[in-house]
């Protein structure tokens, strides 16, 4: 091929590509800034169920007024600003064609229209779905099956037929909603945080069962529980409840924590010479470490019946420690021997628990074990050039740093935590270009809603790092960056805490009041969600109290 022919081929290619791109852009884009064109979708919700809907052009004010006036009813209006076709060639393309929380979906099928508004899609939790491409799991776009099912039900057909014969459009709406709350970093203050902590703690105590366990995961949209349970998370939630009870001098919260602690005592087994926490043939040290943290907190509040159990668990953790400071993370209860396998989090949890219990046990071995574990956790080989850029989600290390700082300060650990927070700040979303309500959240990718708990757990570590950085004389510029990161992160968490949340979509808003959901599109409350957010807020309140 001559140079001239090649140049012609490339020019033709570029022209074709440009025209294709232009056609796609003009066909698919929405103008969200224009004035509303209509129609308006008027809905009435009651007890978490949509009881009436009308689609009208013109003034929507007099529509469904009687239904909206019913006791407990909420009247909503979504004005359509702009719409564009969805190229529903297959489920994958459909899923990628809807912007989460911003777009609704409409369909025309045999002369009839049906609409799924952003509220409808949030209610059926259709805004996020995992897509499996070969062995790779991706979170990309909307749950096509749920959207098709809800529209097909309205039109009295099947999802497959609707996908085949329907003409789909996505639409942008203007609507008034109180969820998420309009809150910025400057609105984060002690009284807002105190209310948030108490609400999160009361969410857990309100959802505690008679035996001391909790409703593990409540779906705010259906009011239903998840059937499973997780012991480390039970221990973590109990730890937070006890901390909140102690720090905020709230006897009801402490009583709830004590009941949850008693539930834990019933699930203790023998691991060699010591007690350990868990069930089945094999246990992990994470559950025992969090149980120990909880017992220490309960002991701090005067529940002395947990003292022996705490010291026994500390003995178990020490027995699992290796020469290099790390731990053997599992123990075979059946065969009575440690299993030398490591996973994320457990070393940090064990180190933190040993550091905390050392104050009660007055056992130098506990303190030494915690220090060695911390040194192991923050050691990064100088040969690993990517050390500055590759970080995990392990959030206990920096809490160990803070707890040990007065007794066994570790400057290298402080630098590790400062570097990690700098990496976290790079992942924090800024608005613009991110949506205003996502400002301060932690990015999971450009089209995926940020989750709350990964941010909350990093903020627990951030507040611990800030506390140590202040006493260690770290420069003001770095302290300001940390403070700003924390405030923005807290604002994001507070926006989505159910205070009270989108109550009209919930069958039982009181059951989830104060709860912290998984993400803006995942309105489940699992027990560790309020735990991590609440603990981060508590830590900050503790720091603010020291300032005063």
């Amino acid at each position: 091929m001559t140079g001239r022919t090649l140049a012609r081929v490339l020019a033709l290619y570029a022209l074709t590509l440009a025209l294709g791109a232009l056609f796609m852009w003009r066909a698919l884009r929405l103008d969200r800034a224009r004035t509303a064109r209509g129609p308006s979708i008027v809905s009435v919700w009651r007890g978490g169920v949509r009881i009436a809907r009308k689609v009208v052009t013109g003034d929507a004010t007099p529509v469904l007024v009687a239904e909206g006036a019913l006791p407990g009813a909420t009247h909503t209006t979504d004005e359509i600003i702009d719409s564009a076709p969805i190229w529903a060639l297959n489920r994958f393309l459909f899923a990628a064609s809807v912007a989460p929380l911003r777009d609704g979906v409409s369909v025309s099928y045999r002369g009839r229209d049906a609409y799924a508004t952003p509220d409808d899609l949030l209610k059926i939790e259709a805004y996020e779905s995992a897509l499996q491409v070969g062995p790779v799991g991706l979170v990309l776009g909307t749950d096509t099956d749920k959207v098709l099912a809800t529209l097909a039900t309205e039109l009295g057909t099947t999802p497959d037929e609707l996908l085949r014969d329907g003409k789909f459009r996505r639409f942008a709406v203007r609507r008034h909603t109180d969820f998420p709350r309009r809150l910025e970093a400057k609105d984060v203050n002690v009284s807002a945080l105190r209310e948030a902590v108490l609400s999160a703690a009361y969410y857990l105590s309100h959802n505690q069962k008679r035996d001391g366990s909790f409703r593990y995961e409540v779906d705010a949209m259906t009011g239903e529980d998840a059937p499973d349970y997780n012991f480390p998370r039970h221990a973590g939630a109990t730890y937070f409840l006890a901390r909140a009870g102690n720090q905020l001098h709230d006897a009801r919260l402490f009583r709830a924590a004590r009941r949850a602690g008693e539930y834990m005592a019933h699930t203790t087994v023998r691991c060699g010479a010591h007690a350990c926490f868990g069930e089945g043939d094999q246990v992990d040290i994470g559950a025992s470490a969090l149980a120990l943290l909880t017992y220490v907190e309960l002991l701090n509040g005067g529940a002395n019946e947990f003292r022996d159990a705490a010291l026994d668990l500390a003995g178990f953790l020490r027995a699992q420690q290796l020469e290099n400071g790390d731990f053997q993370h599992f123990y075979s209860v059946k065969e009575q021997h440690p299993i030398n396998v490591q996973v994320e989090y457990y070393t940090g949890e064990a180190a933190f628990a040993l550091s905390r219990v050392a104050r009660i046990s007055q056992n130098e071995q506990d303190l030494a074990a915690a220090s060695r574990a911390l040194a192991f956790l923050v050691h990064r080989s100088p040969l690993f050039l990517g050390a500055h850029y590759f970080w995990g989600a392990e959030h206990w290390t920096c809490q160990v740093l803070e707890d040990l700082w007065q007794r066994a300060p570790d400057r290298r650990a402080l630098q590790f935590c400062l570097d990690w927070q700098a990496a976290n700040r790079n992942l924090q979303l800024d608005s613009p270009p991110a949506l205003p309500e996502y400002d301060g959240g932690l990015s999971r990718g450009p089209f995926v809603s940020p989750r709350l708990t990964p941010l909350a757990s990093r903020l627990e570590a951030a507040v611990a790092t800030l506390s140590v950085a202040r006493s260690a004389g770290v420069g003001k510029a770095e302290l300001d960056l940390l403070e700003r990161e924390i405030q923005r992160g807290f604002a994001f968490l507070l926006r989505y805490q159910f205070l009270p949340g989108p109550t009209y979509l919930m069958p039982d808003p009181r059951a989830v009041a104060g709860g912290v959901p998984g993400s803006p599109v995942d309105l489940h409350v699992r027990i560790d969600y309020p735990q991590h957010a609440g603990d981060a807020w508590l830590r900050y309140l503790e720091l603010a109290a020291l300032d005063r």
């Binding site: 698919l28 809807v98 912007a99 450009p446």
Partner: protein, 131 residues
Amino acid sequence: MRLLFAVSNALVALILLVGVFGLIQPRFWALDVPAGVLASIELVSALALFARLPWALRALALAAWITFVGGLLLVGLVVLTMVFLRSIHGEDGFVATAVSGLVLLLLVPYTLLLPILQLLWLKRQALEPKP
């Protein structure tokens, strides 16, 4: 030039093999098979050029054409994906556009520029009088 193209094709094969089979987990045939085939062709053409085998230039032409056509398809796919996502998400898709742009910049030297240079050189070789 022969030696330069031998080295560059060997380098492309190495990047593909290490990148796909060394760094990316888990295994997925849809990525592994084309990457494996392309890497093999590049490697064979590089070895043939190094060894000055009689069919070396034909192997180079085959490798260049496959890379060039595959590159045009890949670049087109990335550009259309960028435009599609920008249309759906508007300004929220800014970061993805920037990342995809970077991906394009990284792709173009290997998938378009290198095979174009090779094809032009091959043409010149074909036009030169044989001794």
